[in-house]
Each structure stands twice: as structure tokens, then as C-alpha cells.
Amino acid sequence: MNTARKAHISFTLNGEPAEVAFAPHKTLLEVLREDLALTGTKHGCELGECGTCTVLVDGKSILSCLMLGLDAEGREVETIEGMAEGSELHPLQDTFADLGAAQCGYCSPGFLLAAKELIEKSPKPSRDEIREALSGNLCRCTGYIKIYEAVELAAARMRGETIELPRESLYGCE
């Protein structure tokens, strides 16, 4: 039985003050999922390879499987559960849903947060910038194209612009 005393941290979680006690060796990923029941953050490898556990810490995307929970003390952590404003989805969540960028949905939380960081830094990202920003996130279902298009569309909407989508994005190839 694990007899070590639990560690305790205070931090900001999805904009709200939070406190949590946990076994001190736990990663932020484990603390979020197991001690805070925020299971929207996923795990795919727990080795820092796949990007499914991406969360934002002080606005920067990090792999929560490689960060100790203890290191979140005093920081601002944002998970997928904090991305929507009330019942209004973030524009990225909307476009991921509309364009079929989320298929099985397992990698989607990580992609969405990595994309959010990008759009906040670079409101009009080029395809190459998007590719670069999302290069740490693996998806096995979509082939990435729809994900890139969803990021472009969300960025355009956030700039108040409309962009023409390739017809096959909406209807499939004819």
C-alpha cells in the first residue's frame, strides 16, 4: 500500500481556483483524470509521443504525461472541459464538429488545445504554421486534412471573416 503522504497543490483550473491532494509521483495527466475526474484529457502513450494528453499551462501547450502534478502549483491550467464558454462552444470546437475533424474523438481534446494556443498567438496561421503547431499530435482516423481545415475555418471566424471551404470537405468527393 502506498504509505507516502499525499502532496497538495493550489492552482487555477479552467479559470477557477482549485486544490487537490495526490500521490506525489503522479503526473499532471494522472492528477487531472484520477484525482479531479477531468477525463476529457486523454492518454495514448504516456511517453510524450502522441500528444493526446495536451493541456495548456499558462497558455502554452504541454504534454501533461510529462509534467509532474506538483509542478502545477500556482499555475493556470486549461483542459478541454474549460474550452467552451458556458454552453457556447469555442469556434475551434464548432469547426472540428462541423467538418468531421473529430472522428473517434480520442485525439481531439489534445488537438483542440494545441490549436487554441496557435490561434491565440497567430490569428491568421498559414497551413504550414498549423501543420507545425499540430505536429506533436497524432490522429489515426482523419488523415489530418480536415483538422487543418477546421483550424483555418475557426481562425477565419474568429477574425470575423468567411472563407470558402473545398466542396469535398462538406460533401465528400463527388
Partner: protein, 658 residues
């Protein structure tokens, strides 16, 4: 009334861009995958796996592990003596190995403890004594080395399965050929790598009924395996397939961790979870078989095939899994693209001391397809034919039966080829520089004796239009839309749908199908919405729960849209028929005048006369009682009657060119 669904009315929902029914949940982190389930007092399970590829288990000592505080139970193979497996002919797996291990990763013992750390520590305290055996590690060794045998069944030595099929007179076919070409190919295996690792949670409740939540593509088969291994009545077991974080075929077998958590939950009386590590997912494997292939084809000068003999050798890994079917699949679909009038297939699957292979996207057909398409390119080059043209000239005809008794319905490959030829600018990118016929044929009277090496040597005199280092190639493929036969023999439908209409206008579709990201839940909503004239978001979809939903065999072999779709159409048409009768009576119009659209039922001649969909349900419920209907789908019977005829038939074949 049933013809209404097949008329030429424009479609309002199907084929239109809609959000998937689960899209918002997936984009907000609300979708609950198997490992997201956390139950009160839940225990965590860790599985000790063999570190040797092939060995006898001499002794397992659990004493130190059992003494660790926080350990509630440890089980070994003797607690689960009944074997199981996905195919009735290969019931060769045990949830925990009993007397020997067959690959690195084979499970030996399992721990349930109060947390993952304790379970992990306990696992490392289990002591196992092994006696190593010779390792069989390749197709060649599987064929050549008879002893030690990995399994005590099969077609002799380490050969799991030998199959041989012959259709038509091959000698005659090769005799008619202008050119006979033989090639050998090897396709390396690979694995699915879904982003979500397999996970399962079992709960044995106070009524001694078992519930298993699992990341599986085939809850029905898991249900059957649990019933067999745990010796509990099927009616006391509920299997719920959680949304799969990708599957691609890798979650289609009943798995040892599913049986293990169930057994541990029964022993401890507490919920038990097992989530595999990424490393363990590689041990589950069931990935694409490595296949060594030899193909011999006779062709006429215009590329028409006169006969084909295809041989495949599959590296099966340590267990049967879907392997017998995979073996047949490496020989089944060669005939559905281009006319093959005489066809022979020999297949051998061997056991090796590696993680078991199984079905992965295209199940046994991409390997021979790769071989066949490259082989055809080589033939086209030898015959100095355009490979795209040669292919389209000899396509299988629509509404025909192939040499191996596969019934082809519609056949879209020609259209695919044309589209790719135009879209890729094929004619301008791929062409001989020299005049057609100037090279390779040599003396046209002896085309049958073309030496492939001579053709290759002559390649500096021929060439493509693209510059050195750039190339363009052509390949086609085909796959089934679901298998014609179920995995275990029975006369029941492959897909069932139940529909429940709420008097307030809600509709609930219940179906055993499992959404693995392909959108099968959404398909059900779209189809039912189309037929009932309502919005897909008015529909609640309940799927993949053996207690609540009628059986669908699972999400594999590209079967779900066709089979559950047809079952949903039937159920929805039956519901619409009841609504139509009641609405016609209420409106005082003939039955054939009643139509459904935009959440209304109305008179087609006076569309303003009608009722809302919810009112239609009320009048129908008033007349008939609560409205619930069922639908099902069974594929048409295949014309083939030989052993092995169960693999290959399908209600439809999809075609592709690239």
C-alpha cells in the same frame, strides 16, 4: 407503403452534410471512453506477461505478491480453464496461460489491488519458473520446423491452416496464354495503433449479474466469449461497448483482459478496471499478417487474363484469432476486379512465437492486392500496354458471378479508373517515349517467351514522360461491404434495429452496432430521420449494449452502414406505416396521400393539411398502443457451396483506383 422509401424522392438528410450525433461530446471531452469510467471502490488490474517467446510454465509462486497490503486477488490460468477464440474453429486462447507461453506478452497471472501502483508492485512480486522451448519466428521456420509445436491442433507441425481452392481448368488457361508471368512478393505486417489503448471495466452486482464496459468493436462476440469462459448464463451478462478511440480491426477479438477483469470482479465483488499500456496494446496486436506470396498469371497479348494461380503463406503469430478467415481472404478477392476465368488459390497460415495477427483494415486483402497490382504492372510493361488501359479493358462485369462464385452486383471500378486517369493527367505523365510496340515484344510471334530480364535491360531505350526521379503509378482495389456469412453459423439476421417512438415526438433507435469513430451512430440517426421526415437531432441513438440493443455483429469488414442501415430502413418504414394509417384516418385522406417531411405528416395534395410529427405519433399511439418497430438485415445467400465459400461473398463490393 414500403416502396415509398425506394422511390425517387430527393433525399433531405442522407448525403447532406450534418454534424455527427456525437460530435459536440467529442469536442468537449464529454465522451466517456472505457478508461474514463471510474466506479466507487473500483480496483485496478495489472497483468503479468511472459518475457519469453516460447516456454513451459513450471511453477508460479504468488505468495510474496499476495502478502502485499492492498492486493485483493491474484488469478492464474487454472482459474480460467476454458479456452475461447473469435472463430469457432480456433478456440485456442486462454485468458491466462495454463501450461505454456507462446509469445513475449502472453498473460500468465493477474492482480486486482486498491490502486495501480500496488497492482504493479504485486505483479512484480509474482515468481514464475519457465522451461524455454525453441522459438519459431518466421514463415519459413513455421513451415519447416514441426517440433516443438506451438499448438496441438492445426494441419500438422506448426501449420495452423492449409487451404486449397481450384476453379476451372488451370492447365487449359495457361495453355491459351500468350505470356505467363510469375512473381514473388512479401508484405510486411503492421499494427492498428488506435490512439486509445484497450480498456475494460467489470462490475459484478449484488444480483450476481456481470456488466462489462469495454473498448471493443464486437460486443456481441465478447458477450459470447464471456458466457463460455465464465460459465454464466448470457442473460446475466451485459456487455457495453464504449465509444472506441479508434479500432481499425484491433479491437475485434474477445481479449484476455476483458475475461480477466470479469473474473476478478466476480471474485472480489468490486468493480475492476484494466487499461492496457501502449506496450501491451502491441501484445494484443491482431494486426495485418505478414504474407509471402507467389503469383502466376497467364495473359493474352491484350492483357486478358486466362488463368491465375495465387499462393500465400501467412505468418499468423501465436494464436488463431481470425486467421483462418484471413487466410481465405488472401485468396478471395483477386477475382472481383479484372476477369479471371480460371483461378487457383493455395494458402498456408503458420503459427509463430509472436503476437497473434488478425484483421486490420481490409482483412487479408491489401497484401494480395499489392502483389496483384504490381504483378499486373509488370505484365503491362512486358506487353507494352498502358497499365490503366489494360486494367479497364478487362474489368469484371456488373451483375456477374466470378470463377470463385462471388456474385458481383454493381461494379464501379471502370468509373474510378476513368476519373483517376483524367484527374492525374495520366496520359501525359505516363507514356512510353518510344513508339508503342517497338520495344519488349521482340518477335511478335513468340510473345510467350518474353524474357523479363531482357525487358528490364531494354529499359534505357524506353521511359516515362516524367523526368528521372519522378514517377507515377496506377493501382486499383476492391473490398467487401460486410461478409455474406456470420462468424458463427446461424440463420439469424446479422443486424437488428429497434425503434421506439415517443408520444412527444422523440424517436429512439436501438442497435447493437459500435461507433469506432466511423460514424455508425450518426448513420442510424440520418436514415431514420430521412424516412420519418424529422431532424437527425430529434433522434436518440442507443447502441452497443447487449442488454438494451438487438444484436449487430460488430464494426468490422465495412459492414455497418449497409447492414444496420438496411435494418434501420426497415424499422423506420414499419413505424411510418403505422403513423400513415393513423394520420390518413385523422385527416380523412387516402393512405397513399400521406407524406412525412419537416417534422410533419401531411396530405401531399394539400400540404397545408397535416399534423406535426409529434401529433402523428399521438394519433398512432391512440390507435395501436405504444409505437415500437423492429427491422433486420440478412445478406443474400452466396452461390458458392464449397468449403471456404463463406469468405469473400458480400452484398456489395466497393471499388477504388489511385
Amino acid at each position: 407503403m414500403s416502396t415509398d422509401g425506394k422511390n425517387s424522392k430527393p433525399l433531405n438528410v442522407v448525403g447532406k452534410p450534418f454534424r455527427k450525433v456525437d460530435a459536440r461530446a467529442k469536442c468537449t471531452g464529454q465522451t466517456k471512453f472505457a478508461d474514463d469510467i471510474i466506479l466507487p471502490r473500483m480496483l485496478y488490474c495489472k497483468i503479468l506477461r511472459s518475457h519469453l517467446p516460447h516456454a513451459l510454465i513450471r511453477k508460479i509462486d504468488l505468495s510474496k505478491a499476495l502478502a502485499l497490503p492492498g492486493v485483493l486477488a491474484i488469478i492464474t490460468g487454472k482459474e480460467l480453464p476454458i479456452p475461447y477464440g473469435i472463430l469457432p474453429v480456433s478456440q485456442d486462447e486462454h485468458a491466462l496461460c495454463i501450461d505454456k507461453v507462446r509469445f513475449i506478452g502472453d498473460p500468465v497471472a493477474a492482480v486486482a489491488a486498491i490502486d495501480e501502483d500496488v497492482a504493479f508492485d504485486a505483479m512484480n512480486l509474482i515468481e514464475v519458473e519457465y522451461e524455454p522451448l525453441q522459438t519459431i519466428s518466421s514463415i519459413e521456420e513455421g513451415v519447416m520446423i514441426d517440433e516443438p509445436r506451438i499448438h496441438e491442433y492445426g494441419d500438422g507441425g506448426n501449420v495452423h491452416k492449409k487451404v486449397s481452392l481450384e476453379f476451372g481448368d488451370l492447365d487449359e488457361g495457361f495453355g491459351d496464354a500468350d505470356l505467363i508471368r510469375e512473381d514473388t512478393f512479401f508484405y510486411e505486417g503492421n499494427t492498428h495503433l488506435p490512439m486509445e489503448q484497450h480498456a475494460a471495466v467489470a462490475h459484478f452486482d449484488s444480483d450476481k449479474k456481470l456488466t462489462l464496459w469495454s473498448s471493443t468493436q464486437t460486443p456481441h462476440y465478447v458477450h459470447r466469449a464471456l458466457t463460455k469462459v465464465l460459465e454464466i448464463a448470457a442473460s446475466h451478462i451485459r456487455v457495453v461497448a464504449t465509444p472506441n478511440g479508434g479500432g481499425f480491426g484491433g479491437k475485434s477479438d474477445p481479449f484476455n483482459h476483458e475475461v480477466i477483469v470479469s473474473k476478478l470482479a466476480m471474485i472480489t465483488g468490486r468493480p475492476v478496471k484494466c487499461t492496457l499500456t501502449r506496450e501491451e496494446v502491441f501484445y494484443c496486436h491482431r494486426g495485418r499478417h505478414p504474407v509471402l506470396m507467389h503469383v502466376k498469371t497467364g495473359v493474352k497479348k491484350d492483357g486478358a487474363i486466362t488463368a491465375m494461380h495465387f499462393k500465400s503463406f501467412l505468418d499468423g503469430g501465436a494464436y488463431g484469432s481470425y486467421g483462418v478467415a484471413s487466410t481465405f481472404y488472401t485468396g478471395a478477392l483477386q477475382t472481383v476486379t479484372y476477369e479471371v476465368p480460371r483461378y487457383k488459390f493455395d494458402g498456408i497460415r503458420v503459427f509463430t512465437n509472436k503476437p497473434p495477427c488478425g484483421p486490420k483494415r481490409g482483412h487479408g486483402t491489401p497484401q494480395p492486392r499489392y502483389a496483384l497490382e504490381v504483378h499486373l504492372d509488370k505484365i503491362a510493361e512486358q506487353l507494352n500496354l498502358d497499365p490503366a488501359e489494360m486494367r479497364s479493358r478487362h474489368l469484371v462485369k456488373a451483375n456477374s458471378v466470378t470463377a470463385n462464385y462471388l456474385r458481383i452486383g454493381s461494379m464501379g471500378l471502370g468509373a474510378c479508373i476513368d476519373k483517376v486517369v483524367i484527374g492525374s493527367d495520366w496520359k501525359n505523365k505516363f507514356a512510353w517515349v518510344s513508339e508503342p510496340g517497338a520495344v519488349a515484344t521482340g518477335s511478335s510471334s513468340s510473345i510467350g517467351s518474353i524474357d523479363p530480364l531482357a525487358t528490364a535491360r531494354g529499359s534505357d531505350t524506353i521511359g516515362r514522360k516524367l523526368p528521372f526521379g519522378k514517377g507515377i503509378g496506377f493501382a486499383c482495389s476492391s473490398y467487401i461491404c460486410g461478409a455474406g456469412l456470420p462468424i458463427y453459423w446461424n440463420n439469424m439476421p446479422q443486424s437488428g434495429v429497434q425503434l421506439r417512438l415517443d408520444r412527444q415526438g422523440g424517436v429512439c433507435v436501438m442497435c447493437g452496432s459500435t461507433d469506432i469513430g466511423q460514424g455508425s451512430d450518426s448513420i442510424l440517426a440520418y436514415i431514420v430521420a430521412e424516412i420519418l421526415g424529422i431532424d437527425p437531432f430529434d433522434i436518440r441513438v442507443v447502441t452497443a449494449d447487449t442488454d438494451l440493443t438487438p444484436v449487430d455483429l460488430g464494426s468490422y469488414s465495412s459492414r455497418v452502414t449497409l447492414m444496420t442501415g438496411n435494418a434501420a430502413i426497415q424499422a423506420a418504414e414499419r413505424a411510418r406505416e403505422l403513423l400513415t394509417i393513423a394520420v390518413a384516418e385523422k385527416l380523412g385522406v387516402p393512405i397513399e396521400n400521406v407524406s412525412f417531411a419537416e417534422r410533419r405528416a401531411f396530405d401531399v395534395e394539400n400540404p397545408e393539411i397535416g399534423v406535426s410529427f409529434a401529433e402523428a405519433v399521438v394519433v398512432a399511439e391512440s390507435k395501436f398502443g405504444p409505437i415500437g418497430t423492429v427491422g433486420s438485415y440478412t445478406p443474400p445467400r452466396s452461390p458458392g457451396k464449397f468449403k471456404g465459400a463463406g469468405v469473400g461473398p458480400s452484398p456489395a463490393y466497393s471499388y477504388s483506383a489511385a
